[in-house]
């Protein structure tokens, strides 16, 4: 059961995975305009500079609106699709599901370009709304996966029991199903939010004058002077992502415990 070589490899792998990310706070607090060793001392100057950047906050606000809207829409669509496929038999269900999940196996560029060309052809102006449409496309598969897992762990006889005791299909959904899949819903909202917040390609190509945060960051990369402030921003973003994900994981485990199952692996 114990293989020290393998364990060392695993630790080394984790170091490799986290190394670049760990550099973020290192250089965010580094008192130098250049991202290089040796370190020049501690400063919070970059955080202050970042904090004072109004354009940054504007694009942050845009991204929050986009991510919030996307997560709600994607989770709703994912819930409907998951409920349909787990509970009912209908023709072409596999086909519909495949179409909905397709963005997972397509390079994002293709999704973005296709949608962009349609929008250009119709003459729809690019804006936050078009970004949201693209983001919902790529977040819905995640929502479907999470909600499907949530619905599948529901005992079917719970619904029948509720009906047997006098409830209608609608009140059964409200009183029994919804509370029991709520952890899945929360998880799906958080995951979609995180995916949308970090997403670049669609935000870049389907965005108009109001930029998303990731596009703003991308623009800043051209200016070497701005890089340390971006390190600061990156540090904060990473912390936020990790926090959101930890909360999502907590809810996922709580959901499993509530319905009496056992936790085995990750989300997907």
């Amino acid at each position: 059961m114990n293989n020290p070589g393998l364990r060392a490899y695993a630790i080394g792998y984790l170091v490799f995975l986290y190394a670049p990310i760990v550099l973020l706070p290192v250089f965010a607090f580094n008192d130098s305009a250049v991202i290089a060793f040796p370190l020049q001392g501690f400063t919070t100057h970059w955080f202050k500079e970042m904090w004072a950047d109004t354009q940054l906050f504007r694009s942050l606000k845009n991204s929050l609106i986009i991510a919030g809207t996307t997560s709600v829409i994607a989770t709703t669509l994912g819930l409907l699709a998951a409920r349909a496929t787990t509970r009912y038999h209908f023709p072409a269900s596999a086909g519909f599901l495949g179409l909905v999940m397709l963005p997972l196996v397509l390079p994002e560029m293709i999704v973005a370009m296709s949608l962009l060309m349609v929008l250009l052809a119709i003459g729809v102006p690019l804006s936050i709304l078009t970004i949201i449409l693209g983001h919902v496309l790529i977040c819905t598969p995640f929502a479907v996966a999470i909600m499907t897992s949530a619905f599948q762990s529901l005992d079917r006889s719970l619904e029948e029991a509720a009906i047997d005791l006098g409830e209608t299909a609608a009140s059964t959904f409200r009183l029994i199903i919804l509370p029991l899949v709520m952890p899945g819903i929360v998880s799906s909202l958080l995951i979609s939010f995180t995916v949308s917040l970090d997403e670049f390609i669609i935000s870049f190509f389907l965005g108009g004058s109001e930029t998303a945060l990731s596009v703003y960051i991308y623009g800043q990369f051209r200016f070497p002077a701005k890089v340390p402030a971006m390190m600061a921003l990156g540090t904060i973003l990473v912390l936020v992502s990790i926090t959101l994900l930890s909360i999502a994981e907590y809810f996922r485990r709580r959901g499993i415990a509530r319905t009496g199952g056992k936790s085995s692996g990750g989300f997907l």
Binding site: M1, N3, L6, R7, Y9, Y13, F16, Y18, P20, I21, L24, I35, A36, F37, L77, G78, L80, A81, Y88, H89, F90, F96, L99, P103, L106, P107, E108, M109, I110, V111, M113, S114, L115, L116, M117, V118, A121, V136, L137, T140, D198, F200, I201, F205, S214, I217, M230, G234, L237, V238, S241, I242, L245, E249, R253, S263, S264, G265, G266, F267
Partner: protein
Amino acid sequence: MAKALDAEARKGLALISPTALFSIILLAAPMGLVVMYSFLTDGNNRIEWIFTLQNYVEVWTGPVYRAIMFRSLVVSLTVTLITVLIAYPIAYYVSFHVPAARKSMWLFLITIPFWTSYLIRVFLWKVILGYNGVINSGLFSLGIIDEPLQAINYNVGALVMTLAHAYAPFAILPIFVALEKIDRSLLEAGQDLGESRLVTFWRVTLPLSMTGVLAAVLIVFIPTIGDYVTPDLIGGGKLPMIANMMEVRILKQGDRAIGSAVAVSAMLIVALISICFLLLNRRFLRGQK
């Protein structure tokens, strides 16, 4: 099977319709448009409705296109190979050497980097591998080198490194899932019959995990070949891949027809290679029972 659409089928279809309609309108229809465009002709910043196969001829024979396609394939296949190879041992470790209660913690730790901004991670690699970047400045200040290393930036190797890092967690999960499904008593039976641990691995564990390996291959290969950010930032504009080419053609030059042909060709290549991998998968599955 009494009527064509019984009550259950109607309810199911009604439930899935918003999601399905969304995908049809925003994904299926646009992709259909792209395919259509690929057979039309580019005019002055607009599409001329003249049917032609010229776009495909150019994409498949033009030297620039071929170079970029080739580079994209080389990069993505190399990345896939490396990523899956280094992912297997850690998936094995978590599946076989980590107690069950801790497994999801390990998986969580492994996937966290994936959920942070891809853009920032790529930029960090640029910073790490750059001329005055972290590696060079670190080695320099430690006195190990006198001149900055040229070999680690602005080349295909740098692309591969960045992408392999970014997609590493993608590869681990499917392999892990496949390894978890292996009945442990099969392995114990083998050892009970006198096999060494290495032989057991080679003859039992590895073949049984092949479906996971092939899934990992697909999960890494497909997004990698269409990546935009890494060739853009790490390559400095000198190492475009398919996605960058598409941007140039469609947006910067307004040639939607040929851009669409590039997109469709790329998807065809991806589909072909994926089918090859899936057929390989079938061979493995059939060989087991």
